[in-house]
Structures are given as structure tokens and as C-alpha cells.
């Protein structure tokens, strides 16, 4: 009892004290919060990046969508409203007016039917090839594994140029196609439009199936298959009941990613669709921009974006649904090669044939086309290096060989400068995003960054470019009009590459984990010291990859540049497109060869530097 009475006063005193301190405690809490969450630059860097990416990703898209419902300059009379007022004019014009058929519905139908055709063809080629490469004893599997991926390393419209070189007919001017000069005039349906576009895109995306499906097959545990065999199942039953269901996620994934990529595809459609007025959404969008109908362009870009987002959401959904029953084999995963028996040779011939059609022959044609005066004439005096290194040629313009043209070197320098700088930015930013995502103590920052950097993946390049155009075409606040500068290209390209570089950065940082940095912290190292002595040196390799991979995909990219580049910021891709427009076929082909070579050898270099295989780097 005595004890208790002793304690009472002190307790109530403590209570009084705590009441009088209620206000102080609040400020103590706040200072604690600041000390824990914001004491290190991580949080500040994170906050800065939130602002940066909000501006580089979210603002352009919002501006674009806004453009679709606001009266644009010069449209006041037609829209019957003031410039800047809300309007449904563009939506109406694009979707429901008499010209909607030409502007939107027909291109949409074309886009979808091309995409469907591409999916069908590339799956039917890619699936058997993937199986042959990863699970059979076909001859030269290792060689084919690299060789068959080559189309994916080259710009897709390389093959469009080849097609044009071979099948061009009198519908368009300029140099004759090879077939034409051999006396056979290809009909329009074969020379231009849906058929060649589908074939070319299918060949370009087949490696995609080989990579994704092949990877899934390789990680497939043969013991699952063997257990079924032991239970007495025939190989057909095994294929249908065991392998196919388990491979479904990978297949669906590959299919839908191909679909999404086709939606935004511009170059091939432009080169092969234009002569016969075969429009897809991307080219219709490009036309609207060229004719300065930015409101309609915004609606079209929004539509492309929407299709892209929907298809990737569907992908995420399907993959999640079909993955619920997938068991990961863990240690037991081993892959056994099926002997092909008498089909071993035919299978190899099949792979070789695909290689020839998709890589060997096109490249050969491309090379030959740049050193032959008259198409398809193989006599010795028809060969010339004039298109490469000639001087004082008898042409109206471009009177020197391509290698002696200053424009080429300017375009090459621009490519290096713009793409190089953008890749460096996205590589560094990717690593920083990774760092902040892994290390930030402020949760919403990391989850915001994770999502916002991935978002450009859902938006096809050409729609993204239009968004940038609409944001940076005029001065907005302190930011001057950037259209026509290299900076707008750098910004757009950086943002466009962020999905890949941030994913690479996040996974590199995840793999590194917190331990090495925390160990440095325990020995007393402050933030700056930890970054410079521990984190960055360890992540050197990741930084190199994170820069080189965007660089390679950047130099062969077309859709961003075609919208945002002007003649002074011409890069190699837009330069070659300009040459095509002017019917300098040989020169255009030469430039494309240069790009292809850069992309191919760059990829090999990355592979050698990082000792990784292509499948990891290009699978995105």
C-alpha cells in the first residue's frame, strides 16, 4: 500500500509534464521524420526525379490529350468556337465525320489486319524455330541462335527498302525495281500495301517469338515431360496436355507484344503503304501532323496510345491468369534435346531458308543495290562504287557518293550526339531511379518512379513524339519552344528509353542489394562517399549496358525522329527517309546499311562487354 502511494504523485507529475509538452512532441515528431526520411540526398534526388519524370512523361501526354478537345490555332472558324475553347470538333471529325472513314476507320482496319497477319505469320515461323533452337538436335543450333535474331537488330524498314528495291513497279517513279528490269512487272498488291507490310513485319518480329518462346522452352523442366512419358503418354499427348498449357503465358506474351509494336510501327508502313494510299494509324497520324491538323493528330495519337495500353493490360492480365498454375522447376530444371532422326536435315534446311529470306538475301540485295547502276544487271561493267565514293556525278542533286556527302556526316554526327547524349542520360537516370526505388525511405516516391518510368512503354513512339510536339512547340512558362532543337529529341528519346533503362537500373540495384552500402555506412561512410567509393564502382558494368542498349535501339529508331527532327537535326534514319522521298534509292540503301552495321556491331559489342546473351537485352 505504501509503495503505491509513493508512486502516485510521480505518475501524475509525469502526466502533467506530458500535457504541457504536447505541442513540443509534435515538433519532435516532425524533426524525427525529417531526420529519418530526408537526412540523405536519396530522398531529395528522388523528389527531383519525381518532378523530372512528371514533366517528361505525364505532362506531354496530358497536353496531347488536352489538344484533342481544345480548338487549335486556325481552326476557330471550322470549329465554330474561339481558339482555346473546349470542343468536340476533332473527335467528331476524326471519328464520325464524312472523312472519318479515311482519317481513322480505314487506317484502323488496316492496322488491325496487318497486326493480325503479323501475329499469325511470326508465330507460325517463330514457334517451330524456337523449339528447334532450344530443344532439338538440329545442326548448327548455336550459330542459328544468333543468326536468326539478326532481323531484330536491324531497323524494320531496312527490309521495306529491300522489298522496294526488288518489287518496285511503275506506280512510283525513280529507278526501276529488279523484277521490273528483268521484264516482269509486279502487280501493285505484291509491290505495295498490306501483303509486303505484313511479310516484312512478320519477319522482323519472328526473332521476338524465338527469344521469348525459346527462353520459356529452355527453362521448361523436361522432368515434367518425362513424368508424362513414364506414365505412358504419347508425344502428341505430352505436347498438347503438358507443354502447350505451360508455354501459353510466353506465347500470349510474345503475341500481344508483337501486336502492340505493330500498332505504333511507322517506317515500313510509310515506305510501302504510301504509293498505294494504304494508310495505317501511324501514317494517318503522320499525315495529320504534316498537314498541321494538330487536333486530329492528338485524337489519333490518343487512339494509338489507348490501343497500346489496352493490349498491354490484356497481356498483363492473361499472363497473370495463366501463370497461376505454373510451377517453377527450381533445381530440377533440365532440358533434354529431342533427337530429330530423319528430320534433322530438313529441319536445318528450314532454319537456313528462314535465315536466307529474313537476313541473308535482303542484306545481299541491299548491298548490291548500292553498287549497281542498272538494277538486276549482273554484267561486270554495271558495278560501280560511285554511289559510295563517286565525285561529279551526273545527277541533279547529290552529285557525290554518299560517303563524300557532308549531309551524311552531319546526320551521323547528329545521331551520335543526340542519341549518344540521350542514352547516357537514360542510362544514368535509370541507375538513379534504381537506387532511389531500392533505397528511398519515402514509399510513394519509389512506387511513383517505378510506374512513371515504365509508362512510355505503353505509348507507341509516334504517339509519344506527337505528345512532345504539342508540349514543346510553343513556349510554356519558363520553358522555351524547343521544336527544331536537338534538345527536344534528347528529352523525348530519354523518356522513351526509360522503361528499359529504369528496369535495368532497378534490377541491378536489387541484385546489389543494400548490404554493401550498409556495410560502408557501418564503417562510417557518409552518403557521397558511399556513392563514389562503393555503389558507382560496383555498378560500372550496369551503367555501360544501360547506356549502350538504348543507344543501339536509338540509332535505328525512326518514329520519334520523323515527327520531331527538322533538317538541321537530321539523324541517319530521317536522312535516309528523305533520300527515299527524293528517290535516291542507292544512297538511301547505303545509309540504311550504315545504320544496320552500327546496330549490329553495337549489339555484338554489348554482348562481349557484358558477356550476356541477346535474349536478355532485347527481350523488352
Amino acid at each position: 500500500m505504501k509503495r503505491k502511494s509513493d508512486r502516485m504523485p510521480s505518475k501524475s507529475a509525469a502526466q502533467g509534464e506530458s500535457n504541457s509538452r504536447a505541442g513540443m512532441r509534435g515538433s519532435a515528431r516532425l524533426s524525427y521524420h525529417i531526420k529519418v526520411g530526408w537526412r540523405e540526398p536519396t530522398a531529395i534526388i528522388g523528389a527531383l526525379m519525381v518532378v523530372l519524370f512528371a514533366y517528361l512523361v505525364i505532362v506531354p501526354i496530358v497536353t496531347l490529350l488536352h489538344d484533342a478537345v481544345e480548338v487549335q490555332f486556325g481552326d476557330a472558324r471550322r470549329a465554330k468556337a474561339e481558339v482555346g475553347a473546349w470542343t468536340l470538333y476533332y473527335l467528331n471529325r476524326t471519328l464520325a465525320s464524312p472523312i472519318a472513314q479515311v482519317l481513322f476507320w480505314e487506317p484502323l482496319a488496316h492496322t488491325l489486319s496487318v497486326a493480325a497477319g503479323v501475329m499469325l505469320v511470326s508465330l507460325s515461323l517463330g514457334v517451330p524455330l524456337a523449339w528447334l533452337l532450344s530443344r532439338s538436335d538440329m545442326f548448327g543450333r548455336r550459330w542459328f541462335a544468333t543468326a536468326l535474331i539478326v532481323p531484330y537488330m536491324l531497323p524494320s524498314w531496312t527490309f521495306a527498302l529491300v522489298w522496294r528495291t526488288l518489287f518496285r513497279n511503275r506506280t512510283v517513279g525513280g529507278q526501276q525495281g529488279w523484277l521490273e528490269s528483268l521484264g516482269f512487272t509486279p502487280p501493285d498488291w505484291l509491290a505495295y500495301g498490306q501483303v509486303p507490310i505484313t511479310i516484312i513485319l512478320a519477319l522482323h518480329y519472328t526473332p521476338f517469338v524465338i527469344l521469348l518462346f525459346g527462353n520459356a522452352l529452355r527453362s521448361f523442366d523436361s522432368q515434367l515431360e518425362e513424368s508424362a512419358r513414364i506414365l505412358g503418354a504419347k508425344s502428341g499427348t505430352v505436347a498438347v496436355q503438358i507443354i502447350f498449357p505451360l508455354m501459353l503465358p510466353a506465347l500470349l506474351s510474345a503475341t500481344i507484344l508483337i501486336f502492340a509494336k505493330c500498332i505504333g510501327e511507322f517506317g515500313v508502313n510509310y515506305i510501302l503503304g504510301l504509293p498505294v494510299d494504304y494508310n495505317v494509324l501511324a501514317t494517318s497520324l503522320y499525315r495529320s501532323i504534316s498537314s498541321r491538323q494538330s487536333g486530329v493528330a492528338a485524337v489519333l495519337a490518343g487512339a494509338i496510345m489507348l490501343i497500346g495500353i489496352i493490349s498491354l493490360l490484356v497481356d498483363a492480365r492473361l499472363v497473370r491468369e495463366s501463370r497461376r498454375f505454373v510451377t517453377v522447376g527450381g533445381k530440377g530444371a533440365m532440358s533434354r534435346k529431342s533427337p530429330l532422326g530423319i528430320y534433322r536435315l530438313p529441319a536445318t534446311v528450314f532454319a537456313a531458308l528462314i535465315f536466307l529470306i529474313s537476313v541473308g538475301f535482303p542484306l545481299l540485295v541491299l548491298v548490291l543495290s548500292t553498287i549497281m547502276k542498272v538494277p538486276a544487271d549482273f554484267s561486270l561493267d554495271n558495278f560501280t562504287l560511285d554511289y559510295w565514293i563517286g565525285r561529279n556525278l551526273e545527277t541533279v542533286a547529290l552529285r557525290t557518293g554518299i560517303l563524300l556527302t557532308p549531309d551524311l556526316w552531319m546526320a551521323a554526327w547528329n545521331t551520335l550526339r543526340i542519341v549518344g547524349f540521350a542514352s547516357l542520360c537514360s542510362g544514368l537516370l535509370g541507375l538513379l531511379v534504381g537506387y532511389v526505388v531500392v533505397r528511398s525511405r519515402v514509399r510513394w516516391i519509389s512506387s511513383f518512379l517505378r510506374h512513371v518510368t515504365f509508362f512510355p512503354y505503353l505509348v507507341p513512339g509516334i504517339a509519344f513524339a506527337v505528345a512532345y510536339l504539342s508540349l514543346f512547340a510553343v513556349q510554356r512558362g519558363p520553358i522555351p519552344a524547343l521544336y527544331g532543337t536537338g534538345l527536344i529529341l534528347v528529352l523525348a528519346l530519354t523518356a522513351d528509353q526509360m522503361p528499359y533503362s529504369s528496369r535495368a537500373g532497378i534490377s541491378a540495384m536489387m541484385q546489389l542489394g543494400k548490404d554493401p552500402e550498409e556495410a560502408a555506412q557501418m564503417t562510417g561512410a557518409g552518403w557521397l562517399r558511399r556513392m563514389t567509393s562503393v555503389v558507382l564502382p560496383i555498378q560500372k558494368g550496369a551503367l555501360v549496358t544501360g547506356t549502350l542498349l538504348p543507344f543501339i535501339s536509338g540509332i535505328k529508331g525512326l518514329s520519334l525522329f520523323v515527327v520531331l527532327a527538322v533538317p538541321t537535326t537530321d539523324v541517319l534514319t530521317t536522312y535516309s527517309l528523305r533520300l527515299i522521298d527524293n528517290n535516291y534509292t542507292q544512297a538511301a540503301n547505303a545509309v540504311v546499311l550504315i545504320i544496320a552495321a552500327m546496330a549490329y556491331f553495337g549489339t555484338l559489342a554489348v554482348q562481349n562487354v557484358t558477356k550476356t546473351n541477346l535474349a536478355d537485352g532485347l527481350g523488352g
Binding site: 524525427y32 542489394g513 557501418m522 562503393v534 560496383i538
Partner: protein, 368 residues
């Protein structure tokens, strides 16, 4: 001096159940304290909040009288200013630096003059027997060598407090034994306060001056290895510590296996003042087996059961007795002279019985 004081310490992540809740623990200067518990019990989190790698949700941490983390006072001292060293379970050696560079990192950071730095790093590397690897990279070392580099890296900065997060769990058993001896020697030599996290009771027993047993984020018992083993504070500690594990026999009504009844009867008779016994724990090695009926003894429980299995463990045998309920395990170092299926007598001293009440709390009957 660096006494570590944790008062009412809690840590929870997001909205999940707290990783540690309301933990009170004092680690005295120069002590070798083991935090022991199953995985996920919050022992690593405890270590990380002491190190400052995590901040507290509530409570206060002091080292040597200095408040390091207190939400109420608005104080949070970052890890690099706490003067504690932490050896990670993964070692976390920096792969791009040589052994020597790894070890001297902290000294370079403090701008210790080169000759002194070399001397100190050299001394620690010599003590830990890694001097011959000084120019190698971590990837060229074996697990045990890496572990010693990780230890050297922290020892060289002479931390007030050394925190070890399961540093031996990645080593093979022979190396473990060696490193245990080494750790004990280092503790003697450097006189540092050590907090050591492990889920291996054997490790905790052999190394520590005191053990703190944790479960589900809260402290179960703190005591010397002897106290933990011989007077476990509750059912969890009794069952977690000891291998083979203690035989826990429920003696509440309704538990009517032979052994439960016999034991219940015995306890009621021998401890007349205690009326709330829920279960009785019998350590396997405190049970004596005899083939013939032993002479009666009032301070001993004597009963019989059938042999259900004999499991040799190399030098020792675990004998499984069938008493109609859960099996009773006995460990013995005398080669068994009986076969499976035979009837045996077994005996346990009253003083070796662990009594727990209905809530699983130890009943200390010396006072009761």
C-alpha cells in the same frame, strides 16, 4: 561505457504485424549477448535498429548513455555516426576492392595516417589470419576467408559495439567450430561489447555470456546459457532450446494418456502447494532407463514404457518410448542393451522436472 539500452522498442513495417514490439533489453559493457530465436522472430530487426539501419516506430535506444533513436525526442543518429560495427550475414564485401582495401576502408575514411593505417590493418588481418590474401579480391576467397575479412573490416575501426548478424550460418560445420573459437578469442582480446544474432542454439550456448531468446517480435527470456537451459521461463524457451527437444507432457484434465496420468498424479503428490500445473517438461538426457525395476524413491518419478525405436546418432542414442500418447524421447550415451518392443523402466528426478502453468509460464517450485 558502451552499455546498450533498449527501452520499449517497437518496429513495424507498413501495416503488417510489428517485427518487434515493446522490447526491453540491456546489454552490459563487454558482454557477449546472443539474440536467439526462430527465423522471423525479429532478432535481425533488433540488430538493425541498434545499428541505425532501421528507425524505431516507438521506444528509445541508447548506447553508453547517449540517445541514438527516439521518436519522442526527435532524435535519430544515422548509422555512420553511431560507432557500431555490423558484420552482415552475406558478408557484404565490396567486390571491386582487394582484401586490404576492404579492411582499410574505414581507416582511409577517417584519414588515419598511412603508417598507422597499415599497422592497424596489418594487425587485425594477422590476428584473423588473412594477411596472406591482402591483395586478392573477395571473389577469390572461400566463405570462411570472406567471413574473416568482413569481421576484420569492422574490427579495425575499433567499434564500441560489434553487431554480428548470423555471421557463421553460411559456413560448413568444421569452419563454424573454428570461427566460433575465434570469435570467443576476439571477444576476449578486443573486449568489445558484442551482440550476436543466431537461430542456432548451440552457437548461442557456446559463445555468449548471456542469451536473449526472442519469439514473434517479443523477448521471452534473458539469462546466462545455464539459466536459459536449466530454468526456461516459459514453454517457448523450453521447447526451442535443447536438442533433442524437451518432452513436454500436458497434465491437465482430459489428457488421459498413461504418462499424463502418472505424471499428473506424481506432481499433485510431490508439489502439494502448486495447483495450476499445465504441463511438465522432461529433458531427454535427464531420463534414466533401466531394464530391471529400480528401487523406489519418493524424489523420483518411476514408470515404464515400451521401446518404439532406437536411433543411433554416433556416440549417443535417442530412444523413443511409446506411452500411449505422444512419444517420449530419451537420449543416452550408454549403448542400449534392449531391443525395440521391450518394456523398460524410466526414472526422472523431481528436481529435474520443469513445471509450467496453464499459460505456459514456468513455476519455480523452490519458492512455491
Amino acid at each position: 561505457m558502451p552499455t546498450i539500452t533498449l527501452s520499449h522498442v517497437s518496429k513495424s513495417y507498413d501495416s503488417q504485424a510489428p517485427a518487434i514490439s515493446d522490447l526491453d533489453l540491456v546489454v552490459q559493457d563487454g558482454e557477449f549477448m546472443c539474440l536467439l530465436g526462430p527465423s522471423g522472430c525479429g532478432k535481425s530487426t533488433t540488430l538493425r535498429v541498434i545499428a541505425g539501419l532501421e528507425n524505431l516506430s516507438a521506444g528509445e535506444i541508447m548506447i553508453g548513455g547517449r540517445v541514438l533513436d527516439s521518436r519522442d525526442q526527435g532524435i535519430f543518429v544515422p548509422p555512420e555516426q553511431r560507432g557500431a560495427g555490423l558484420v552482415f550475414q552475406s558478408y557484404a564485401l565490396w567486390p571491386h576492392l582487394t582484401v586490404e582495401r576492404n579492411v582499410s576502408f574505414g581507416l582511409r575514411l577517417r584519414k588515419v595516417p598511412a603508417d598507422e593505417r597499415d599497422a592497424r590493418a596489418g594487425f587485425v588481418m594477422a590476428t584473423l589470419d588473412i594477411e596472406q590474401f591482402r591483395d586478392r579480391y573477395p571473389s577469390q576467397l572461400s566463405g570462411g576467408q570472406q567471413q574473416r575479412v568482413a569481421l576484420a573490416r569492422m574490427l579495425v575501426i575499433e567499434p564500441d559495439v560489434l553487431l554480428l548478424d548470423e555471421p557463421l550460418s553460411n559456413l560448413d560445420s568444421r569452419l563454424r567450430l573454428k570461427m566460433r573459437a575465434e570469435l570467443k578469442r576476439i571477444h576476449g582480446e578486443f573486449g568489445t561489447t558484442i551482440v550476436f544474432v543466431t537461430h542456432d542454439q548451440w552457437e548461442a550456448m557456446t559463445l555468449s555470456t548471456r542469451i536473449a531468446v526472442m519469439n514473434e517480435g517479443s523477448l521471452q527470456q534473458v539469462g546466462t546459457p545455464d539459466e536459459i537451459y536449466n530454468s526456461p521461463a516459459n514453454l517457448f524457451v523450453a521447447e526451442f532450446v535443447g536438442n533433442p527437444p524437451i518432452n513436454m507432457v500436458p497434465v491437465t484434465i482430459g489428457q488421459d494418456t498413461d504418462l499424463s496420468l502418472t505424471l499428473g498424479e506424481y506432481v499433485t503428490r510431490s508439489f502439494p502447494k502448486i495447483d495450476n500445473v499445465g504441463s511438465v517438461g522432461l529433458r531427454p538426457e535427464t531420463i534414466r532407463l533401466t531394464v530391471r525395476e529400480p528401487p523406489g524413491n519418493p524424489h523420483c518419478l518411476t514408470s515404464h514404457a515400451r521401446v518404439a525405436g532406437i536411433l543411433p546418432t554416433g556416440g549417443n542414442w535417442i530412444v523413443e518410448l511409446d506411452n500411449g500418447g505422444a512419444p517420449l524421447f530419451v537420449s543416452t550415451n550408454i549403448s542400449p542393451e534392449f531391443n525395440v518392443g521391450e518394456m523398460l523402466y524410466f526414472q526422472v528426478d523431481q528436481s529435474r522436472m520443469h513445471l509450467f502453468d496453464l499459460d505456459g509460464i514456468r513455476i519455480s517450485y523452490e519458492n512455491g
